[in-house]
Amino acid sequence: MEIPAIQTRGLTRTFGALTAVQDVTLTVASGQFFGFLGPNGAGKSTTIKMLTALLEPTAGSIEILGKPFSASALDLKRQIGVVPEGMALMGRLTAPEYLRFVGRMYGLERETVNRRTEELLEFMQLADERRKLITDFSHGMQKKLALAAAVIHGPRVLFLDEPFEGVDAIAAGMLKTMLQGMINRGATIFLTSHVLEIVERLCSHVAIIHQGRLVANGSIEDLRSGVASTLPGTESEQRLTLEEIFLSVVGAGGQEAPQELSWLT
């Protein structure tokens, strides 16, 4: 049996009285492009932080590539790449300086770091901005740089928290091509995004988290057929979009639809 890239059992995280993530059990197979969805505040970023050892779980276990993962599991850190929520950039460095720094922190050889830095800058169309400090980059440029830094060491598992947020259509297309290429070469990508069209196009499997609990998990096709069977009047040949699946699973969170704002023109 193939070792899953990511496996969690009963993953839970509380902040005082608030339970941000509760009992999340998840398996992501190697080579999967996995979408992790949920409304705002559902626990997506908290889960990613735990999966990347930026946050200690209150309970439960995490295995990456078949090995237990914690902040001290340095060998495993070499196998993963992360674009965290805040992008983790260093504003007072230039893009090449930052990439070289990250490459060296992952223990890459000098020649390798230099070569990959140049390739990534060219690929991300940041080569013309090599003299600019990161703090002066636009949000989209920072996103591209954060992604470049996350892949410079050739990770086997890549965690991306909203990688397409603020990225223009051309760059988004380029990133998608790159990510698809990584999948084709056997990498695993764990992605959160609010852009469901992109998730639907890229991901083969998704999980949906809502109010800290996993409410759906499986291939998009499985979810589609599962949701379709519960919706009255849905014809079998009618393909539900991921957005419809998402809304069906999460809905309005069991809450009443808000009243109209009478004063809003």
């Binding site: 902040a71 992360v82 260093m90 720094f101 922190m105 003299r131 004063w263």
Partner: protein, 570 residues
Amino acid sequence: MADLIHSGEAISSSPLGSLARRQYLAIMWVRFRMLTNSVRSVQGAFEFSAKGVAFLIYSMMGMGLGIGLGGGAYQLVKSEHFQYLPALFWTVFLVWQVLPVALASFQEQFDLSSVLRFPVSFGSFYLMSIAFGLVDVPAILGGICCVGIWTGVTLARPALWSWTAGILAVYAVFNILLGRAVLAWVDKWLAKRRTREIVSALFLLLMLSLQLLNPALHEQRQYRRGGGRHGAQSSGQGVMGELPSWMKPVLALEPWLPPGLAADGVLRVAESETRLMFESLAALGVYIVAAAAVLGIRLRAEYAGERLSEAPAARKRTEEDSKWLLDGSGPIAAVVEKELRIIPRSMPLLFAMGAPLLTVLVISSVLKNTNDTGHAFSWAFPLCVCYALLGFTQMIFNNLGSEGTGIQTLFLSPTPIRTVLLAKNLLHGALFCIVAFLAGVFATVRLGWPDVTLAATTAAWVIFAVPTNLAVGNLLSITMPYRVNLGRLSRQRGSQASALVSMLIQLLVVGCGVVVMELCAFFGKKWMAIPSLLVLAGIAGVVWFQVLAHADSLANRNRENLIATLAKTE
């Protein structure tokens, strides 16, 4: 929505209008809530207590200064030596203008740029910029100094109390406005590479000028002691007669500068020349308007959305322009190289390292002219070297503070935090040794060669001080971090708790050195201080290694706090 629009039209955009007043109240409320909310966590409560302690300490320092200035004012007014009164006002001026820059790294200042997304008029923004953060260290010290002068003048001549209070109030307003304007413009200049280079050059020039200033004054003093080259200056021909010729135009200009004008105002009141007093006040008013205008230009730009950031030259280069500074691909080299690239781009760090050197120059020059062979002179060399350590306080005791969101990169990478800290420690230790060496050279140039035993003892103290500071610095950096904006001197978040603890450690380290040296001197074996300090250095080294060994577990325990604190958006 209609009623909102209607009410918006009815509200004036005046800085004192109802909308502005509501906004002031809202910001005050937010600040109050932020303060009360901060006490919810243990660290926040500790920080709050530290602020209270710092406030007390600064108030006591201010009291000391205020009592001194009050005593001076009393003596000068009582003996009617009004011509020396400007010296007191210049002291207040220096306290108010130099301290903000020197303490910028340790103070929390409120950045008002976040309120610009609201319908805030420029007038309101201007008023807020002046009002918020008014109770800072320079204001406390400057205010107490002014009260001290007022008390001294009033005790000496009770009839002068009301006019003196008015003059000092106007003078305080000038200092507040000028202080704000200076910081705002310094931040602006430091934000651009070209202007930063110019400011750095001016800073260097200032250091060199001070080098030249002292010999010039010293030569003049020798000249006076010797009765002058032609025996003309035998006794008191007044201050102007005793000073070198190049100082005369400076002194002639002095009465027209704000401290001189304020002092002149007091003099005119004492001489019942109310019209002339008003003239002085009016001239001071012109300075106030000028300072307000200079500040206004900066605030107008900020109001218009200017964001200060370091923008390199616009021209693009196609060639490879960023070479490796250090060979090797290991993480230690990577961290050291990163720090080496960041430090020259950060004026606060450069200033922190350079300012103590400037002070060393001043201290050594003062000692040279006041204490040729006394006890104080024997302490001058170690004192200068010790003082160099002050500039590294923030760098060593908050060594992760400049990482910002990049702290996540450090946690995500497979490099242990202890390796990162080790690299930073090695660099900071090396930089301190360089600065301490330069301080020693400056002291030697100004004061002559120190005693060999004393020099060796000082070196032993450095070997003890560096690992001690690094060990405690690592602990504080992990447990009490605060974000540092490397792009500007002012508007830093700061941490009074960290500042207090670090100052305490500095005092303890210096105190240990003094106690050991004095004890050995008392028993007539000064050389014993060297092995004694080396033993302490050995202990400090072991503690440093232990701290590094446990750095990862400590960092992992504080990981969430570190990330939350340092990755905060500016």
